[in-house]
Amino acid sequence: MKAGGSISIWFFVGISLLVNGLLILGAGVYELFHPPQAPVVLFHLHASIWWGGLLALLGAGYCIHFAPGKGRV
């Protein structure tokens, strides 16, 4: 589905996931080197890093696949 004739909704979804994923990944990496004084439960699993990374990868995939001008819907 194209919006405005050129940009797919999935591209917007990709941008959103990519930016959020990178921000979460960055926050997770920061916490890895500067552990908080009151960590969340299961902090040792470092969910921010793998969840943020997963979102960023997914977002990057969507951005590339549905980039404006590639003709995909």
């Binding site: 589905m1 917007f12 299961l42």
Partner: protein
């Protein structure tokens, strides 16, 4: 500046870091950008109100589900699962899946082929102007009322969780919705709903994953719940033989005949808030596939809503309580279970995404209400009753202004609720007054060509009137519950189920009786509207994997399996 500091210094459940705020601000920027981007594609009535009828099945299906997946839905049902256990999942499985499949396979062809722009619009074509007027006025009234009440509830939630000022939450969130819907119309609402749907899953999915890790898997979770509450909290059907045997105080007949057969089917097939998304599909096959795609995801929503509630029973160190008790004692209410679980596992960044998911849920629900209100107001009230022969451009302009008007009325309702909180006790009942009888009217109209215009109108009026009457009877004389809900032990939810069932049956009875005594419409006027007089395209030429019926069967099998697994 002082106000901003005061705004940040209110007691709160969680504290946001800078990265969390960046994520939330980025979300608002994104939805507004989509609205501005789509403005150029909303110049005609078909574009503004029906999104050009060019949505793919996936987009229409995700939007169909997202419009229903408001934040109150997320938080309320997570709280309900803490209170009632896995019984709350009935509202996601038997209380949704059969109805969505029924819409896809049985009702969608009539809606789509008739090319109606709304459910009241279908009633106009099928029964005439009086039925449309009754249904559209009721719908418009209830939609803005619901929208305002949701707005107030969400602002209250943001105040409790984040300490945000109620006025700021109400105005910022609702004006954002008003801007992007009035700019891009239904297309903007749908595109944002898809984005919001993805964000809701991205923000909420981590809670059950980490919760199950902490609890030691499903078996560990069940063992902890058996200790902290009762083993019955993890069974869906085995405790429903009697009203007294389960925490919800409901009998299986109420769930099957009241919830599944009437309330849920009525909601998913005739509430224009959700049906509007499917009407925007690009062709009939996409329109039939959209509810099936929605049903597929709906089956798994309990993973991000019901499971966190159950995990709360098993893992939270404190006992949650009813709202009034929580306010009196300073404790936490059932409805706070989702944010409490969010705060338990989510550090900076993840917390921002989780809060964004809640805000996205609120905004998708509100945009659904507002865009549906705008269409019904413009086409079914303004054009039908006030100004019949204006240009398409005039109606688009009216659509934009009524979007703003709908939001402003909703804001007014939100402030009304602040001063008269008892309104909230009545609104769910108010909403159910109309939906259950409407289902009987629409389904008889679609499947029985003998149903006459007079039958449709008087049936709808009798059904709605009887529902209001039963509700008032129980309010005035609580002992009447034994007649309305078949048991003095029945609770509010059970009463809603049975009241819906009786009003639906009465509507059907009156519709049939009046129809048999009055003149039906000639067949020529019913072509494309009624079973037997509508040419439904055959699908023999497409492969089985492209047939909606095949995928509906797959969803049906998974649905049955889930109910057996969690019996």
């Amino acid at each position: 500046m002082t106000a901003a500091l005061a705004f940040l210094n209110v007691p709160r459940l969680v504290h946001l870091s800078a990265v969390d705020l960046v994520i939330i601000v980025f979300y608002f920027a994104m939805v507004l950008a989509i609205g501005f981007y789509l403005k150029e594609r909303a110049n005609t009535g078909e574009d503004f109100f029906m999104a050009g009828r060019e949505m793919t099945a996936w987009i229409a299906g995700l939007s169909f589900l997202s419009a229903n997946l408001g934040s109150l839905e997320l938080m309320g049902w997570a709280g309900a699962s803490y209170q009632y256990g896995i019984l709350a999942a009935h509202w996601y499985w038997i209380g949704a899946i059969p109805a969505m499949l029924f819409l896809a396979l049985v009702m969608m062809p009539f809606y789509y082929i008739s090319k109606t722009h709304s459910v009241p619009g279908y009633l106009k074509l099928r029964f005439g102007e009086s039925s449309r007027a009754l249904s559209s006025i009721c719908f418009a009234f209830m939609t803005v009322l619901m929208s305002g009440i949701n707005m107030y509830s969400m602002a209250l939630v943001l105040k409790i969780i984040l300490g945000w000022n109620i006025n700021v939450s109400i105005w910022v969130s609702s004006l954002t919705v008003a801007i992007y819907v009035s700019l891009g119309g239904l297309r903007s609402a749908i595109f944002n709903e898809v984005l919001q749907f993805i964000l809701i899953w991205g923000g909420a999915l981590l809670i059950p994953i980490l919760g199950l890790v902490e609890a030691g898997g499903w078996s560990g979770l069940k063992a902890r719940i058996a200790v902290n509450a009762s083993a019955e909290y993890t069974h869906m059907w085995s405790t429903m033989g009697h009203f007294k045997d389960n925490p919800m105080g409901i009998h299986w007949t109420g769930i099957v005949f009241g919830l599944a057969a009437v309330i849920s089917t009525g909601y998913w097939t005739t509430d224009f808030l959700v049906v509007q998304r499917v009407l925007a599909a690009k062709d009939l096959r996409a329109a039939k596939m959209a509810p099936i795609i929605g049903a597929t995801f709906k089956m798994f929503v309990p993973f991000i809503v019901i499971l966190p509630g159950l995990l709360g029973i098993a893992l939270l160190p404190m006992k949650l309580m009813p709202e009034a008790q929580a306010v009196a004692t300073g404790g936490h209410s059932y409805n706070e279970v989702l944010p409490l679980m969010l705060a338990r596992y989510c550090g900076p960044g993840l917390l921002g995404l989780g809060i964004t998911a809640l805000i996205a849920g609120f905004m998708s629900g509100m945009a659904g209400n507002v865009s549906a209100f705008t269409t019904v107001w413009t086409y079914d009230i303004y054009r039908a009753l006030i100004k019949k022969d204006a240009s398409d451009r005039h109606y688009v302009s009216m659509g934009r202004w009524s979007t703003l008007g709908g939001v402003i009325i909703s804001i007014g309702t939100a402030y009304l609720v602040i001063h008269f909180k008892s309104i909230m006790d009545y609104v769910q009942a108010l909403f159910s007054f109309f939906i259950a009888p409407l289902f009987a009217t629409v389904i008889l109209g679609m499947l029985w060509k003998r149903a006459s215009p007079a039958g449709g109108f008087w049936g709808l009026l009798a059904g709605t009137g009887s529902s209001v009457g039963m509700w008032a009877w129980v309010k005035l004389d609580p002992t009447a519950l034994r007649y309305v809900a078949l048991s003095p032990y029945a609770r509010d939810m059970a009463e809603n189920m049975y009241r819906a069932l009786w009003s639906c049956l009465l509507c059907a009875f009156v519709t049939v009786a009046v129809s048999l005594a009055t003149r039906p419409k000639p067949d020529a006027e019913l072509t494309g509207l009624v079973y037997g007089l509508t040419a439904i395209p055959h699908e023999e030429h497409v492969s089985i994997f492209h047939r909606p019926a095949f995928w509906a069967a797959v969803v049906g099998v998974v649905f049955v399996a889930l109910n057996i697994i969690f019996w």
